[in-house]
């Protein structure tokens, strides 16, 4: 009995030790990747350009709310012009935030495997006890942390600015934040998978094209919903399951305006940033499973790769 307990204790100690080893390695590599971004002034460029976008957004939002307010009694009584303007502008901000998050995701993962291996940067790290799986996990967590932090910060700023300039506050802003975070994590995962197969330039081009394809599929879906075309909706649906960053982004947009009723709700849902697509309750579990599967495939390819 005691020998069983000893073995169980030894196994528990061994598992704890392996876990803490992996966590330490993840911290080391993630810290290294982040330090490179800081040293290369990546964050300075990102912050400056993002501030530029937010300044432009503030000015545009203020102008839009002022213009709409000037319509005054010209607007039909059943149209909530503040909601219509605010949700459209916030939808635009979400789209830009996802795009900027995608740009960052692509650039922080561009060289992670194949590119760094071609330049001879990866080999000195891989021969250390850290192991390839941990290295890949660390790169995912570092890139994911940067991208999620970024989209959350920009999204929060856009929410605050929309509220400050026009007094608009969406229905479910928390779900919007969650959807943006998951969308950008999907992009990071796809980009990391790409970097196990493709050189830097090819991977960058591929990820932007995949991103474009996802957005196009989303627009096709919106058109399909407006036209009641099952063929278009099916195309969109297949693309959304294959590239779920678009589906979760649409779902986030939908959540922002899901509580808007009446004529305003119809117009919002038809608009380019209204979010006609309600993905349903399975989407988040699907995305989590998708991240795991993409990670496992990337790990499998990386583990077998000759460097």
């Amino acid at each position: 009995m005691s020998s069983f307990a000893d073995r169980a204790r030894a196994r528990a100690v061994s598992v704890t030790s392996v876990t803490s080893d992996v966590l330490l390695d993840v911290r080391i590599v993630a810290g290294y990747a982040l330090r490179e971004a800081v040293r290369r002034k990546v964050f300075v460029v990102v912050v400056v350009l993002t501030l530029g976008f937010l300044a432009l957004y503030t000015y545009g939002t203020k102008q839009a709310f002022d213009e709409v307010a000037r319509f005054g009694s010209g607007v039909p009584a059943d149209i909530g012009e503040k909601v219509l303007t605010g949700s459209t502008l916030l939808g635009l901000a979400m789209f830009v935030t996802l795009f900027l998050g995608t740009v960052i995701a692509v650039f922080v993962t561009l060289n992670a495997v194949r590119g760094d291996a071609e330049r001879g940067l990866l080999q000195p790290l891989v021969v250390r006890p850290i192991g390839r799986s941990t290295l890949l996990l660390a790169r995912f967590l570092a890139a994911g942390a940067v991208c999620v932090t970024y989209v959350l910060a920009v999204y929060a700023a856009a929410l605050a600015l929309t509220n400050a300039t026009g007094g608009y506050w969406p229905g479910n802003p928390v779900y919007g934040a969650l959807s943006l975070s998951l969308a950008v994590l999907v992009v990071v995962a796809i980009a990391l998978l790409g970097t196990t197969l493709l050189s830097s330039t090819a991977n960058g081009i591929a990820i932007f094209m995949v991103f474009g394809a996802g957005l196009a599929a989303g627009l096709i879906g919106q058109i399909g919903a407006a036209l009641d075309s099952s063929a278009l909706e099916r195309i969109s649906s297949i693309a959304s399951w294959a590239l779920p960053f678009e589906a979760i982004y649409q779902d986030g947009l939908h959540a922002l305006t899901a509580d808007v009723r009446g004529a305003t709700g119809v117009i919002v849902q038809l608009g380019p940033f209204g979010g006609a697509q309600d993905a349903g309750a399975l989407l988040i579990p699907y995305i989590l499973a998708y991240l795991v599967v993409v990670g496992l495939v990337a790990n499998r390819i990386f583990s077998k790769a000759d460097l």
Binding site: I28, R39, G120, P124, V126, V127, R128, D306
Partner: protein, 280 residues
Amino acid sequence: MPDALHVTALRKTYGSATALAGVDLRVGAGELVGLLGPNGAGKSTLTKIACGLVQPTGGHVEVLGHPCASKSARSKTGYLAELFRFPGWATADEVLVLHQRLARSDGGPDERARLLALVELSAAAGRRVEAMSKGMQQRLGIAQALVGDPRLVLLDEPTSALDPAGRRTVRELLDGLRERGVAVLLNSHLLSEVELVCDRVVIVDRGATIAEGAPADLVVAGGVEIETASGLKRFPDAGREDIPDLIGGLVAEGERIYGARVVAGSLEDTYLGLVGAQEG
């Protein structure tokens, strides 16, 4: 005590191209083995398999009794790739800190200072890699390979970018490793360097071992030269023990003898003879 490196029937193919066709190799603890061969012979592939960068197609490789590429093997191995880079934004000291952490070395600043001094980079500890010459980067690469006191060091062309003084530094460093019982597999095209420092040499060509032994055993004597009144006489197949008979014969023919010497062969002669014979 297990061999530092034990390679058995190692094979590697890339599509239809064969890089290694069944190589056997042993590097004992504290032994310094030179791996020679022409470009494309499979030297770098063998080294990369030993440190887990490349997957073998067949055969078996053990590092200090552990399967190569296992965590246990990697924790005891230091490696310098032929083509490598460190991030330009990092300083020499930061590169070593990173590798200390990944290798779980508790050597701290003392180890870094010792390694930088060993490769004569003490003054460049705070210099960014992008501001270093190629030779300095190669020396930093050697220091990196020695982080964590590895028991086996795999060096792939470690002196290709070094000047003669740098090469001498590396030779002294290799002698120091041998004294500490560290095994080294040195992959190099510089035959004279290999001849000077290695205990044993393995020559591979087209993925197979074609010769193996101590440099002195591999070197074939270059014959005997006897200086006579009528000029220098060469006897390419003769050895030291033949000199008295050769002189006796020449004197009997009426020659006056001014000197005699055994012409020392070199590893280069042996190597070129073997590799040339393979290509022929």
